[in-house]
Symmetry: C2
Subunit: 183 residues, 2 copies
DNA sequence: TTCGAATGAGACACTGGCGTCTCATTCGGT
DNA sequence: ACCGAATGAGACGCCAGTGTCTCATTCGAA
């Protein structure tokens, strides 16, 4: 009977990340609860968005910790990161689209901290000779977010198999589409 | 004095693709015109969105034609496509986010046609041995859209240099982030 | 079974944004 | 300089969506 808060947040993230104009009623129905119940758990739309941000940042941070980005070769760390991030892909997609709303250099503090950690991974990869230096860490970071969001949506609409989530992103991000002459 | 319709549409696309909840007044101000004038050119919000879709599809189709996707090696065709698409990146980003609103398998007809052309390019590249076959054409197509949208936004906020737009996308999409052992 | 807590459905007033209108002003061709 | 067309600013009613409330129903632990 009691509402599963986490499940509601995940459903809301999945819906709001593709349809930002979704009604509170639509969010509630998508989560399988009534609008009144949704309001009992989240004071209003703003509160829901804030809870979504907090939850997403918390889950993303946990994924970053679990992936141990500082250990081993950067490409391997990136693979671990994607494995850890997959369950929170919907939340991450919401965070990315939500962060685009901030004006100018203003930015969610928590997000900025996590962003720096991902960027540092790509920088480390460059310094250790594993990643190309002509693609900036900032771009690789943004590209990672973009690909995660894109793939999460592609899986939702059945355009990509759910089991291929990690593989498609990692392989494209690391190796690109071009076929190697050898191997 | 007369309003530049194309410029208004481009500005609106750039704004609405990151902030779907933007007010008609915000759209008008962003375009440097009054709300009344905006309503004189586009009957309402729905009409504006429809005009945006038509304009975006038209520009994207023109880019596809100009890129001659059927000629030469697929990787080169992809480079030409990105060069042609760059001026319409904002419109394309709007189209992609807008198309995510359609429920189920329903889809904008015009968009579906263009989508098929891009997908065919990746398939041709696979058949001719230029692209990897373990990344599906559908995923490569979605990834291309995602990277274009991501990069367009990254340029807007100053995270990527405007001049690097084509290079960053093409290089990441074709070659990936990993540094080749040789070369 | 019993009882308190949680939920769903609906009603209600309120508000932000939309669509339409008017009017004064400005632009640009002649 | 002139005049028609286009624009900007503002006012107005309207409505979908919000936030709050009530009440009947259902869940789940004791």
């Amino acid at each position: 009977m009691t509402v599963d808060r986490d499940q509601v947040l995940r459903t809301a993230a999945a819906l709001l990340s593709r349809k930002a104009t979704a009604t509170m009623d639509e969010v509630a129905r998508a989560a399988g609860i009534g609008r009144a119940t949704l309001h009992r758990h989240f004071a209003g739309r703003d509160a829901l968005v804030r809870a979504l941000e907090d939850f997403g940042i918390q889950r993303f941070e946990a994924a970053l910790d679990a992936a141990r980005l500082d250990e081993g070769p950067a490409p391997d760390a990136l693979r671990r990161l994607l494995a850890e991030v997959e369950p929170a892909a919907g939340l991450l997609a919401f965070l990315v689209t939500e962060n685009q709303l901030f004006e100018g250099d203003q930015m969610n503090e928590g997000w900025a901290r996590l962003d720096a950690r991902v960027s540092a991974l790509f920088r480390r990869g460059q310094e250790q000779g594993d990643f190309r230096i002509d693609l900036t860490p900032a771009w690789l970071t943004e590209a990672l977010y973009g690909l995660i969001g894109t793939c999460a949506w592609a899986v939702q609409v059945g355009r990509v198999a759910a089991n291929d989530f990690q593989y498609m992103i990692v392989e494209l991000l690391l190796g690109g589409a071009r076929r190697s002459v050898e191997k």
